[in-house]
């Protein structure tokens, strides 16, 4: 392999310039906003150190095996998610892969809106962030036009980082991922040196076993693992499709999973030491933790609050960017594979739709003055879209992927292919695990999610919008909104997948690509 980052081409497909480049890109993809704040929030809710029991079970039973399957699919087929699923499991598999990628585009739309808010808050860090309280400042950010400009900036940055495929992705992650770790370690040192900061660490790790007796804790840990590793989005398949044929996917998959969870571990130290020192209560939402709780804690620092706040938001920004480029690369690579388009054409198309979508998510917040009146439209649009596109699609795709690869393509066939180059060979049990254990685990998690969603007196919470609007009140004059969001999401993703599956064809099918 060349170490100079030039784009190596293999049968028209670019490949990673170095092993390190792929590891940094894949781990940067997995480590996002959620890793920084969401793990700590879950650990707080579910019994501190006791949460590590289901968390480790989830890592070894679900996270690493599915990571290996997703990467293995891309590397063995040398194709993005839909083409790889088409080659291995036929049109039905391709349909679900497109569904996953269309959900990925929807997720990229609001994820970049979040990054636009992060960018605005980062600039505010060196100005009036703490003057009226962080919550009020965040409200004013949401209500301003500045995030609209940041939407364009973030999409432009993504386009630049993806412009030359693996070459530019690699250059980006070689700067951003080490920087991310360095900034996080600085926050850890600052947290631990706060008054009673170390007590926060003991608080994080000391188990309350009452927590893990509750089934929802296990569901929380398994969901966390799936979402944290970005499984079911097709991102790892796209990235692994640029690996050389003799790359060791088994070790790479495990490596990326460990690095992702290791980052959560370190982030937990930083967040918990600060929360304990300032007696702050974590919230269940990434939004609340990222934009209010943690910055409020930083505001209590004895000195250099602006510097640390700026560093925290910059950390969120680069963690978000390394994830967003992978989410966008996934459909870009898939469109190239399917229609034989150039990278710039695919990227332009995805970016134009993406910018429009990101503005749709940012605009209502601005019109509603950033939540001064509760922001029913903005909050519910974001939360409900996330509820369907993120909360359901990843799990459904993960389930289908395990079933299709396990039973149609054959888990054993994939295992043999991967073991050819693996330093640590997958055991025969891997086949049973992918065919039966993973589907069973994901089905149970899905069942829990559905049971939680179904309320006897209300019906489907997501369709009624209950629990998605501040104050849990009715959607005054907007009762139709949750159903409309669901219908639009379903129409766009399912309808789009149907069209994309039926249109064109791949070379291996004798199609026009």
């Amino acid at each position: 392999m060349e170490e100079d980052n030039t784009v190596a081409e293999s049968a028209g497909r670019s490949v990673w310039g170095s092993k390190l480049g792929f590891i940094l890109a894949a781990s940067g993809s997995a480590i996002g906003l959620g890793n920084i704040v969401f793990f700590g929030s879950n650990a707080y809710r579910y019994g501190g150190g006791a949460f590590y029991v289901p968390y480790f079970v989830a890592l070894f039973a679900l996270g690493i095996p599915m990571m290996i399957v997703e990467m293995g699919l891309g590397q063995t087929q040398r194709a993005a998610f839909p083409a790889a699923m088409n080659k291995t499991t036929g049109k039905k598999g391709e349909f679900f892969a497109w569904w996953s990628l269309l959900n990925a585009i929807v997720i990229a739309m609001y994820y970049i809106t979040l990054l636009a808010w992060v960018g605005t808050m980062m600039v505010k860090s060196f100005g009036p962030l703490f003057d009226d309280g962080v919550g009020k400042t965040f409200g004013s950010v949401l209500g301003s036009w500045t995030p609209m400009v940041w939407v364009f900036i973030i999409w432009a940055l993504n386009a630049v980082f993806l412009s030359r495929g693996t070459a530019t992705i690699e250059k980006t992650v070689k700067v951003f991922v080490p920087l991310m770790w360095a900034f996080m370690l600085m926050l850890v040192v600052r947290g631990l040196t706060l008054k009673n900061g170390l007590q926060g660490v003991w608080y994080l790790f000391t188990p309350n076993f009452a927590g893990i007796q509750d089934a929802s804790v296990w569901q929380g840990a398994f969901s966390q693992m799936f979402f944290s590793l970005s499984l079911g989005l097709g991102t790892m398949t796209a990235y692994a499709s640029y690996l050389p044929r003799k790359a060791d996917v088994v070790t790479n998959g495990a490596m990326v999973s460990f690095m992702n969870c290791g980052f959560e571990f370190v982030a937990g130290l930083a967040i918990f030491s600060m929360l304990f020192s300032f007696s702050l209560q974590p919230t269940a939402s990434t939004l609340g933790m990222s934009f209010v709780v943690v910055p409020t804690g930083i505001g209590h620092f004895p000195a250099a609050q602006s510097l640390f706040a700026g560093m925290f938001f910059f950390l969120l920004l680069i963690a978000g960017l390394t994830s967003s480029i992978s989410i966008i690369e996934s459909p870009v690579a898939a469109l190239k594979d399917k229609f034989g388009w150039s990278r710039s054409k695919s990227l332009t198309l995805v970016s134009v739709f993406g910018i429009a979508g990101s503005l749709v998510f940012a605009l209502p917040m601005m019109l509603e003055k950033g939540g001064a009146d509760g922001a029913p439209l903005g909050i519910s649009l974001l939360d409900l879209t996330d509820h369907w596109a993120f909360g359901y699609s990843l799990l459904v795709v993960g389930l289908v992927e395990a079933l299709f690869i396990g039973h149609i393509y054959g888990a054993g066939k994939l295992r043999v292919q991967l073991n050819e180059n693996a330093r640590f060979k997958l055991p025969r049990y891997f086949d049973t695990h992918i065919k039966y254990v993973v589907p069973a685990l994901v089905s149970i998690v899905l069942l829990f999610v559905i049971l939680k969603e179904l309320n006897i007196s209300v019906g489907w919470l997501g369709l009624e919008g209950k629990g998605f609007y501040q104050g849990d009140g009715p959607f005054d004059g907007l009762a139709w909104l949750p159903k409309l969001i669901f219908a639009v999401w379903l129409l766009l993703t399912v309808g789009g997948s149907f069209i994309l599956t039926r249109t064109g064809g791949y070379e291996h099918e004798g199609g026009a690509s």
Binding site: K19, Y44, G49, G200, W202, F205, P207, G211, A247
Partner: protein
């Protein structure tokens, strides 16, 4: 409301000073979590009440006049917490180190 210490220690009594009379003081350990636990202290009409924290961590102390959060310290270093911290760190970073070593022990692959 004022607490004798912002960092009371679990199992060691501390004093809560109320600004206004309140029938009771409610302590919520790990507020907002599904495993939250509530402890109610009867004030007997007094403005001062003794409280012995039962669980370490963040807790909310609420009375009629308002509420505030407090961080309850461990009584010493919690052995189990230290053990889990070490095991979790070793599994995650040890796992990553083993994989890294295995990946870089092999020569760089040629692009076909």
């Amino acid at each position: 409301m004022k607490l004798a210490s912002q960092y009371p220690v679990v199992g060691q009594p501390t004093t809560i000073q109320l600004d206004a009379p309140s029938k009771e003081v409610t302590i919520t350990y790990q507020p907002g979590a599904p495993i939250a636990k509530t402890q109610v202290l009867e004030t007997g009409g007094q403005l001062q009440v003794q409280w012995t924290p039962e669980r370490p961590g963040v807790a909310s102390v609420a009375a009629d006049g308002g509420s505030q959060n407090v961080s309850i310290k461990f009584d010493g270093t919690p052995g189990l917490g230290v053990v889990i911290f070490i095991i979790a760190g070793c599994v995650l970073f040890g796992g990553a180190a083993i994989c890294l070593k295995a990946l870089f022990a092999a020569p760089e692959l040629e692009n076909e």
